[in-house]
């Protein structure tokens, strides 16, 4: 259910390219969210990204991402 909601938000959002992420990595206002499970996140993630596993989106989203209209970028392992 959470994944379905996330996917709906995702497919209606705009795609972002790798180059843009690379250029904006140092930007403190750039919010990068990794939705993989914690262990996969530990094994390797893009620097400055935060971990918010799909299973915990409902619980922790409000704490980690308090502003609704702030720009957030979501990524997973591949083209899921």
């Amino acid at each position: 259910m959470a994944k379905v909601q996330a996917k709906e938000t995702v497919t209606s959002g705009q795609p972002i390219s790798r180059d843009e992420i690379l250029s904006r990595l140092q930007d403190p206002a750039f919010m990068l969210v990794n939705v993989m499970p914690k262990e996969t996140f530990d094994a390797g993630h893009i620097p400055h990204s935060i971990n918010l596993p799909v299973a915990e989106i409902e619980k922790k989203a409000r704490q980690v991402l308090p502003l609704l209209d702030r720009e957030i970028t979501v990524y997973c392992m591949g083209s899921t």
Binding site: K3, P37, I46, H48, I72, T73, Y75, C76, S79
Partner: protein, 307 residues
């Protein structure tokens, strides 16, 4: 969720790594990367030499032996050099050991004899050199002790590794069996459900109980996929995932034909859905054969239909 400004990186981690982007890692203490044990000096009041012993114990065997030989030769050189400038040195019989090539041989010979705690007594140290000789004796003994204990512990480490592997395979078997039992239980509940003469609440109770066990098994599977050092064999894992898919199918059918819910049941279903969702073919830390990935995708699909 209400977020209005969401963007999505289509390629994900795979594309990032392919483009050689910087990757950050988190060292997790729960899963040790090396099988070698690290002897940590825990109490701060241990003497400095005891800490040195701890450091020595972490070295590999070859390095330890090399270090031992190095110390002996180093001491031998010191004995030899001491004989040159100073008045004291080694004494062989009644004559002082001369600082020439022959003397070097004698000095190194003396060094070996001292370190191995043989102590023939044909060459003896004079004056302050005696302190050095005693120190070398202690050092030689301790390092030799380390070397011997390393040889013994090698066999022990092999045995421990074997035990780990056996336990792991047992766990895999146990999960497979439990999944089968859970499947039978779901079928039995379905049977009871069809006989409308069942007591009210009986079906719900049994369902809740099965859910709990199912959630527990899912957690174990999750650990097996994400948290082990040992690789499960692909066909064992495949049969496990197939069984899991069967259980999920049975569960979905059961939930469709059985509309009763309770708070506890909903909580369990949510846990099951989340855990099954995380069995994602692309998120697991190892690459598996496409057949396994298909099973994982199927399981993820079913997870969405549960909660």
């Amino acid at each position: 969720m209400g977020y209005t400004n969401v963007r999505y990186y289509v390629g994900g981690m795979a594309d990032w790594v392919e483009g050689c982007g910087p990757v950050e890692r988190v060292e997790s203490p729960a899963v040790p990367r090396q099988p070698a044990r690290n002897i940590q000096p825990s109490s701060p009041r241990r003497l400095a030499w005891a800490n040195c012993l701890g450091i020595l114990a972490n070295w590999p065997l070859e390095q330890l032996v090399g270090f031992w030989l190095g110390i002996i030769i180093f001491f031998g050189l010191v004995y030899w050099i001491a004989g040159i400038g100073m008045g004291w040195g080694l004494q062989a019989g009644n004559a002082t050991v001369k600082p020439d090539l022959d003397g070097l041989g004698t000095a190194i010979y003396f060094s070996f004899v001292t370190a191995l705690s043989i102590g023939y007594g044909d060459v003896i140290p004079l004056g302050p050199l005696r302190i050095l000789a005693v120190t070398e004796g202690i050092a030689g003994l301790l390092i030799f002790g380390c070397v011997i204990s390393k040889l013994v512990s090698r066999r022990q480490e092999e045995l421990v590794e074997e035990i780990h592997r056996t336990t792991f395979e047992d766990r895999l078997d146990r999960v497979r069996t439990n999944l089968h039992l859970i499947l039978s239980d779901f079928d039995a509940i379905d049977q009871i459900n069809r006989e409308h003469s069942a007591l009210p609440g009986l079906v719900l109770r049994r369902l809740e109980s099965s859910e709990r066990v199912f959630a527990g098994e899912l957690k174990t599977i999750h650990d097996l996929l994400y948290r082990t050092r040992l690789l499960p064999e692909e066909d064992a894992l495949e049969s496990l995932l197939a069984n899991l898919a069967l259980c999920l199918t049975a569960l979905i059918d059961l939930l469709n034909s059985q509309p009763q819910r309770s708070a506890a049941l909903d909580a369990d279903l949510k846990t099951i859905s989340n855990l099954a969702n995380e069995i994602c073919g692309e998120c697991v830390p190892r690459t598996y054969a496409p057949a396994l990935k298909r099973w994982m995708d199927q399981i993820q699909e079913m997870a969405k239909r549960i909660a």
